[in-house]
């Protein structure tokens, strides 16, 4: 009995193991085939002139979203027909683009679908959907390198500005002359010739010393200003209750009042400025005073001599 039960339990265990692993294998197969059994799928056909290595199982993207996979690729007369399975219906409009592009820098391809501009009329269901000719990155790279090669050839043959710069003997000579001139100027500066040379070489540090003193003076002045020393300092930094600002304002008002009176011809100064007659008389007066002073200056030695002479007696 025990032997029988043992045999049965072994068979049950083996059966259970096989059953479990076979179910796992089924699930594994479904996962690897990327089939969505319980979800509705939509089949589409695209026609390409070439597909640049697009394979079954490659992803299909619409607006950057992975919506399905390439199911099959068939080579037909003059073109390649690509069958795709999508998770969502595709509404293509006029101006749509279907591209085979690289899926990563490491390689691989994917199908990129642009449905067309908003508002454009939708395509009919019976229409053949055409894919764009894929861009071969290696071909593009070869074309770019070819372009560079053409530029290098043109430069080598002396064409264009760059070519002439590299190949034209005149430009080279001009450059050499400029270089020589610059060298000569540098030599003169080094030997202390000219203003710049004297400033840089023959100064013996005097310029630096003067500059240092100037800066020190500036610092002292700014420090005094900051400390509120002197008139300017007081004006700038004195407190409100120091009345300097009010005094200055009053003074300016007085000056304005005086200048206004002068302009209106009021007072002696105003009349002096405004009255032409008074101006003439003043001029005459000044001339008389000047003549009197001259007479006095001429009479002064005689007066001095008389004083000394009569002072002795």
């Amino acid at each position: 009995m025990n032997k029988y039960r043992r045999e049965v339990s072994i068979e049950i265990l083996v059966g259970l193991f096989m059953f479990t692993v076979l179910i796992t294998l089924g699930v594994f197969t479904i996962v690897l085939s990327s089939e969505k059994i319980w979800k509705e799928s939509y089949q589409y056909e695209f026609v390409f002139s070439e597909i640049s290595g697009l394979r079954e199982g490659d992803n299909v993207y619409v607006r950057g979203l992975n919506v399905g996979r390439v199911k099959q690729t068939d080579l037909e007369e003059g073109h390649v027909r690509v069958y795709v399975t999508l998770d969502a219906p595709l509404y293509l409009r006029q101006g749509y683009i279907i591209d085979v592009v690289d899926s990563s820098m490491l390689g691989g391809k994917k199908l990129k679908i642009y449905e067309g501009p908003d508002g454009a009329p939708e395509l009919g269901e019976s229409m053949t959907i055409l894919g764009a000719k894929p861009v071969d990155m290696i071909e593009e790279l070869a074309r770019v390198i070819g372009g560079f090669q053409a530029v290098i050839d043109a430069v080598n043959s002396g064409k264009g500005t760059l070519g002439k710069l590299l190949k034209d003997e005149t430009i080279h000579k001009n450059m050499a002359t400029i270089s020589e001139d610059l060298m000569r100027i540098m030599d003169r500066i080094e030997s202390g010739e000219g203003s710049l040379g004297q400033l840089l070489v023959a100064d013996d540090g005097q310029l630096y010393a003067d500059g240092k003193i100037f800066m020190a003076n500036l610092r002292i002045i700014s420090q005094n200003l900051a400390d509120g020393k002197g008139t300017l300092g007081k004006m700038m930094f004195s407190s409100v209750d120091d009345n300097s600002y009010d005094d200055l304002q009053t003074t300016l008002a007085n000056i304005r009042s005086i200048t206004q009176s002068i302009n209106e011809g009021e007072g002696t100064l105003g009349r002096l400025v405004r009255d032409a007659k008074l101006y003439d008389e003043t001029t005459l007066l000044i001339e008389d005073v000047r003549a009197a002073v001259d007479d006095l200056r001429e009479a002064s030695p005689i007066t001095s001599f008389g004083s000394v002479l009569f002072g002795a007696f």
Binding site: L13, V14, F17, M18, V21, L22, T24, L25, G57
Partner: protein, 262 residues
């Protein structure tokens, strides 16, 4: 010092022995394959189930550890290199494709050859030196049907199943390392793993595992039947069964990959 004639004779003898061994193993295998229709008959069912239990269930523990750590090592080594280029998310595909195509069947083959193959060689070898095989023949019991066929069925069935188990554990081990050591989320890892591996990879791997099962059975049973010289001979047969199985698994692994992928 051996004379050239003696060396040549010895070499020729070894070649003939090799041919004889291969021929014997092939006939044994073909006869066992012929008797496979009786695998689940009343007489053989218990033995077949026992062999399947020994091969499958009893190997699970060691396969679990080996598969898990194989996946973890693959993920870590690949991930560290891919991290230099900021592409560590691709460890999913690297681990899944490596495990499904090659490492799964290969690791399972090595473990089964070392554990089950050696046990088969030792058991049949002991029966041979104690003349139990001769007794079976005297009783008109075909040793190939009685001993080889249940083991062949067990290994052919269990090797692919154990390989599926190894694949899954290896991929999970990689996911564990990706999530904890390399900052690759389990979702991203799994998406990447399923994106690059294909059903062809899976079933070619399972086919390999089945072939490895046949090789292990043939080599181990043959070495068991060829055992001589008592207990020492049993040890020698066991060692040779494991070594020859390893070598054939390696060579066949390459040949099958070459056959299906190039």
């Amino acid at each position: 010092m051996r004379s050239p004639a003696r060396s040549t004779r010895r070499f020729g003898s070894q070649v003939l022995q090799l041919m004889h061994d291969t021929g014997h193993a092939m006939f044994m295998l073909l006869e066992a394959a012929y008797f496979m229709r009786y695998a689940f008959s009343k007489r053989s069912r218990t033995e077949t189930a026992t062999q399947m239990f020994t091969t499958g269930i009893k190997s699970l523990a060691v396969i679990t550890v080996v598969a898990l750590f194989t996946g973890m090592i693959l993920a870590l080594q690949t991930g560290l290199e891919l991290r230099r280029y900021g592409q560590e998310v691709y460890i999913g595909s690297a681990v899944a494709v490596s495990m499904i195509r090659e490492m799964g069947p290969f690791m399972t083959g090595l473990i089964i050859a070392a554990s089950v193959g050696s046990a088969i060689a030792a058991q049949i070898g002991t029966m041979t030196v104690s003349e139990e095989i001769a007794a079976l023949e005297v009783m008109s019991i075909n040793p190939n049907r009685f001993l080889v066929m249940p083991r062949l069925v067990a290994l052919i069935v269990m090797m692919p199943l154990l390989t599926v188990y190894t694949n899954i554990l290896g991929i999970l081990g990689g996911a564990l390392v990706g999530a904890t050591q390399l900052g690759v989320s389990v979702q991203a890892y799994m998406d990447n793993a399923t994106q690059f591996a294909t059903n062809k990879d899976l079933y070619v791997g399972l086919f390999k595992a089945g072939v490895f099962g046949i090789v292990i059975t043939a080599v181990s049973c043959h070495q068991g039947f060829m055992t001589t010289e008592g207990a020492v001979g049993v040890g020698r047969a066991t060692r040779r069964a494991v070594i020859i199985s390893f070598l054939i698994i390696l060579v066949l692994g390459y040949v099958i990959t070459r056959l299906f992928y190039i």
